[in-house]
Every structure is written in C-alpha cells, then in structure tokens.
Symmetry: C2
Subunit: 304 residues, 2 copies
C-alpha cells in the first residue's frame, strides 16, 4: 500500500548542547517520508521555495519517495530556527519564517489520489480536510495536529477529526484537546470525536496506543547520546504508518508492531542532526533495534 | 526469605482533588511492609508515639509482618500533611511534624538479624549504615534516599551506597545524585558508586531497571481513577523486594518480574487513600493485574 503525506519541507537551524546545524533539511513531511520509505512507497505533497536545491532533494533520492507533489513556489522555503535547553527537554523557537509555506494550498496529483494510507501533517485543519476531499476513500487516514490549531480553530479541527482513523499527538495536546488531564479519560473523549485509534507520544517516556481492542504502552529506548530531538515525532509517525502500509491486515497485533517500528526509527533520528542518521541506516539495523526493544520490554509470565 | 524494612510509620493528612483523609496510616515502612507481605515475611523496624493505637496496627495484623521492631516512644507519631495539585502531578507539604521520628535510632531485634533481604527506607544515610552494622550478611541490601540527603549529606550517602546492592530512587534523584541529566549516563555513574542494580521510578511514566545484564523498561498501568498517589513508590519497593524474597534465584528474569509486581501493587495503592486499597486486594487480583501488564506491553516479533 502506498502512503500520501502532506506536510512541511523546511530548512532548520538548530542549536543543541552538542552543536549547531545551519539551514539543514527539516520539516514534518521530510522526516515522515524518509522513515516511512523503509517499509512502503511514499507520495509526498509539500511546497519549497526557489532556494531549495538538488542537494536537499538527495535525501529523498534512491528511495520509494515520489516527489511529483513537491511544489516549487516563487520565494523562500519555510525556515525554522530553534535552540534546545541543556537537558534537551525543552526548546525555544528563535525564528519562524513561513515563507512559501504560509500560502500552501495542497494540490494532490492525480497519480496520488488512490493512496491507501493518508497522513495529514500538522497544518490548518481546513487544509487537512481539503486534502481528504481530493483523495478516494483511503483505507486509513492518520492525522497530526498541535495546540495552535486546538485552541485557534477548535471547530475546524473537530470537523477534520470526524474523518480521521488515527490521531497522533503528544500528551499535552491530548490533554488540551480533550480537556481531561487523565490520559485514559482524554483518550475516551478523543476517540468519541472520530479517531478509532489514538497514539499519544510522550517523548523520552515512550508512546501509548489507545485502540478499539486494547491499550498498548511502549517505552522509548534509553539512549546515551541524543544529539538533536528535532523530527523524532514525525519520524515515529512515518515508521508507524510505513510499517502498517506494508501489512495485509491492520489489526491490534500489527498496530503494536508498528508502534515499535516507529519508536525504533525515532531512536535513530535523534542520534544526529537533521535526517543524517535516519538516512544512513539499513533495514537490518532497523530490525536489530526492534530486537533491542524486545529485550528492553520483555518479561515472563509469573509462575502460579 | 524474610525481609527487614527500616523506615517511617506515620499519620498522613492528605488532600487530593478526590477528597481529604485525616490522620490516616502512612509512612514508607507501612506501605512497603503491607505490599511485601503478599509474597514474603516482613520484619518491620520503626517508631511510633503513644498516640498510635490498636486501630492503626490492624493494617499489619493477619499478615506475615513482625512488629517486634516497631518501637513505641513517649511523644507523638510522625505526622505529614500534604495537598496534591489538581492534576496529581505535584504536591505541597503543608506540615511535617517529625515528632518521635526525629530521634529515631533503629534498633534491630536479635530475631531480625538474619533477614536475607534488607530495605533501608529513606532515612539519614548514617542511620542506614548503622542498620547494616546490626545485621548479618544479607543476600540483598536495597536502599531508598531523597534529595534532602543527596545534597545535605553527600559524603555519608556515598559511604552507604558503597554497601548497597539495589538503589531505588526517582528520575530527579538519579539526576541529582549523578550530576548527569541523561539517565543512561546517570545509571552508569550511580552503579559505579556501589549498587549493582539501579531502579529509576518515573511515576506515571513507569520504571527503568539498570542492571548488570540488561536494561528493562516497564510502563505504569494507565489508570482512569487515581485517588491518592501517596505511598505508590514505597508500595512499588515492597512489591519488588517482596517478590524477590519469594524466589530461589535472583537474576535478570526474576528482577523483571519483580519490577512488574511492584508496579502492579503500586497501581492498586493509588486507587484509594492510605493503605485502604492495598490492604483489601487478594493475591488473585494481584496476579490478574500482572496479566493486564502483559497485555499492555506485549508485542510480537516481526516477520523477517
């Protein structure tokens, strides 16, 4: 199954305690697409400016990532600049230049309209709905959002959520969206808004999956070296949906494996700046780290 | 194997968003002992005042908890009063009356000196060492501490840690003790101080075990109803060491099961005030919730 992703392709300037990366490739659709491409073909829809060159496109080349939907507009590419705290647990945005992304109107190429999985990156919920209007009945619609839309466009967001199967957000967003601090109550409230499955991303504390059949908790891999957390959540989403796209059936069992593959890929992303680590790994390394997650979480049944 | 626990037995006055409990049974040794008693005999060393009556002792009766080491001193019992925030994620201490606990000098009854597992509750590290001086070569020495001792008596604490096999602390304490924000680095530094095994308690985010052989991560059970988090950490420690005391061998496999049993018991404690829930459960309920943790965390190996 192929995946359609709509989101940002950007330049990031990032400072972390490990160093600084200047105008490197970033954006939710970039991390998502490269992560998902380990498992399934990806159709990318986004926009870049005329300052976005061949060098940046290299990150996508040689992978099953279709770039027919990557629009080139007159102007500059979206640029985000941020600085992480010493403990990497928080970050300040120093500068956001939306540039061509400000007027982004996703246009879905005809060849993409039969994508079976759709990932609506974190954009205006109205635009997310316009994307859905351009595709034919996907098997799974997944969606990201953020506090900016939760508080700024609650009615629009609700209308989008009614059409979504899987919502992937962080714990703070789940609390804000539902008005419930307790995550079990928050999940119930959010699942009533539309998404049958809620995935709550908790960063270094792992992921919670609230589904139709069950609840699943996966930890994050304790890592000694974290260079740059940027893109970890989008990488997670890409690994999660990429794995699902590679399966015949999408059920509780496959959802759990998908959560772990998403966590595996995110654990690589943070090991270098930008997509540098994510791009260089092999499928074998991905599978090996899946086994590390098994070793990290496994415990036996107790004796009676 | 029997367990010796040295710690506080107290009255707690607790306010949470669910209500208020006035002068109810609390204290680290109380939660620890009742939790551990589901698996193994417990020898309790602590001190109460002359205001501590038969009614409070009921919590320990009918269980394999020996109270010969529970000293009665002239004066009042330790009393802690606290108020939790609306989200239960933080608490303010309104009042701490150490009372007889201020001059607590643990005296280990002769019958306790051969306890095979020792749990040094969160008291002055000098007193913790005096406890160890009074027992004969236990198989496992486990220990709790807190920021107050980490910053206030660092040299004393280091001397105690050199004699400890298992240290159980929360993530903030691990960071403060090691001076490392990254938990993998923190664990390495702390294990160099003495404890072969470090257990990092992360509250609603679960537990990390750093051992000789491997690292293990267990989530907390997502609970819809949390009435009072007081005592969850001590209950966890009691379930963890209680289970280990019931085993022939103490190895990585049993440590993992012990972490889960500790998490199971802690998940019950928070469902009511004081020890009310912890006291009323059956071993069967404990075992059933162990299976809930299996369901929560299980994922299959992926296909090649």
């Amino acid at each position: 199954m192929s995946i359609l992703v709509v989101g940002s392709v950007a330049y990031d300037t990032v400072e972390t305690p490990s160093g600084r990366a200047e105008r490197v490739l970033g954006g939710s659709a970039s991390f998502f697409a490269v992560a998902a491409s380990y498992f399934a073909p990806v159709n990318l829809v986004g926009v870049v400016g005329d300052d976005f060159g061949e060098k940046q496109l290299e990150a996508f080349r040689g992978r099953p990532i279709d770039l027919a939907g990557l629009e080139r507009a007159a102007g500059k590419t979206f640029h985000w600049q941020g600085r992480y705290s010493q403990d990497l647990n928080s970050r300040d945005t120093i500068r956001t230049d939306l540039n061509v992304f400000e007027f982004f109107q996703p246009k879905i190429p005809a060849a993409y309209r039969h994508s079976e999985l759709v990932f609506l990156g974190n954009i205006d919920p109205l635009l997310q709905r316009e994307v859905l209007a351009q595709v034919e009945k996907p098997r799974v619609v997944a969606c990201d959002t953020m506090n900016y839309w939760i508080t700024g466009k609650p009615a629009e967001l609700r209308e989008t959520l009614a059409k979504v199967d899987v919502l992937l957000i962080n714990d703070q967003e789940a609390r804000e969206l539902s008005g419930e601090w307790n995550l079990v109550k928050a999940a119930r409230a959010i699942r009533r808004m539309g998404p049958e499955t809620l995935v709550v991303k908790k960063g270094e504390h792992g992921v919670l999956l609230f589904g139709h059949e069950s609840c699943f908790a996966a930890p994050a891999l304790p890592l000694e070296t974290v260079i740059d957390p940027t893109g970890a959540g989008d990488t997670f989403a890409g690994g999660f949906l990429g794995y699902l796209a590679s399966r015949q059936d999408i059920n509780d069992r496959e959802m759990r494996r998908a959560i772990v593959f998403g966590s595996v890929l995110a654990s690589f992303t943070v090991e270098k700046f930008s997509l540098d680590r994510l791009r260089e790994i092999t499928l074998r390394e991905v599978q090996e780290r899946y086994q590390d997650f098994r070793a990290l979480t496994h415990f036996d049944d107790h004796e009676a």
